[in-house]
Symmetry: C2
Subunit: 124 residues, 2 copies
DNA sequence: CGCGTTTTGACAATCATTTTCGTTTTCGGC
DNA sequence: GCCGAAAACGAAAATGATTGTCAAAACGCG
């Protein structure tokens, strides 16, 4: 099915960082695609719903997406300037979050953990 | 200065959870205040800029604010249903984030860490 | 080919947040 | 107290991302 969705997925894969829907739309159009903005949003929603891509909010509150190398649970170290991201893991953080939630009687505990900074390239 | 800002701060303090600007505005108006929405936004921005209140984004991407008991660095355990929040700390998370950033050559490393769940009251 | 289903995209509608801009308050100096 | 500058206000318009609508186009299949 959907060549459209694949196009979005691929465009996203070609970037190392988090990208916004508007951003990806611009890229696709620039590459000659006749895709519509609505479809880009739908594709991104479907992809994130199925867990194929990660989504988070940047400082402006807009949703940004990334096609990560793994679909297993992980977090990111994101460059505040260029958006480049590195996948990171923190076993202790995982257990800390779960325990903290349980300690206070919370159920269905999840967490958001993102580390931001300026990457080597952008700091020079 | 600004009785307005104080009004916003106080209304926020009366809640144990994170609240949105629109939400606080409705509360203030309901209490008879003639405050304008613009002013609520300005007050919240000023308060968060000065570090007096914490701000984060809910699932819908809208900014929500909270008047925490301390101005020192901490995180939250937030109820996904009612928004109630508990201030939490995680020393190991702090060092983990800093080290992870440094390990990859990132500078000016910061992090966002929030734990979500369903609070005891909302789960019953 | 026909036909029902799914996908698509132009366009309108939402909705939180920001800008604008004239009005009102506040405040220090007189 | 009185005055003008500066700061604070608030109503209304502008912005901008995201979502809803709906008719047209692409697809699957007999
Ligand atoms: Zn960078
Ligand atoms: Zn995790
Ligand atoms: Zn709750
Ligand atoms: Zn921290």
């Amino acid at each position: 099915m959907s060549t459209r969705r694949d196009a979005v997925r691929q465009t996203l894969s070609e970037s190392s960082g988090f990208r916004s829907a508007q951003d990806l739309y611009a890229d696709l159009r620039a590459d000659g695609s006749k895709i519509g903005l609505t479809t880009v949003y739908r594709a991104l929603q479907a992809l994130s719903d199925s867990g194929e891509i990660d989504v988070l909010r940047n400082d402006d509150g807009e949703a940004v997406y990334r096609a990560c190398g793994t679909e297993s649970h992980h977090h990111h170290l994101v460059c505040r300037v260029c958006g480049t991201a590195v996948e990171i893991e923190g076993p202790t953080v995982e257990s800390w979050a779960a325990e903290t939630g349980a300690k206070h009687g919370f159920t269905d505990v999840t967490h958001t953990v993102e580390v931001f900074g300026t990457c080597p390239r952008c700091s020079s």
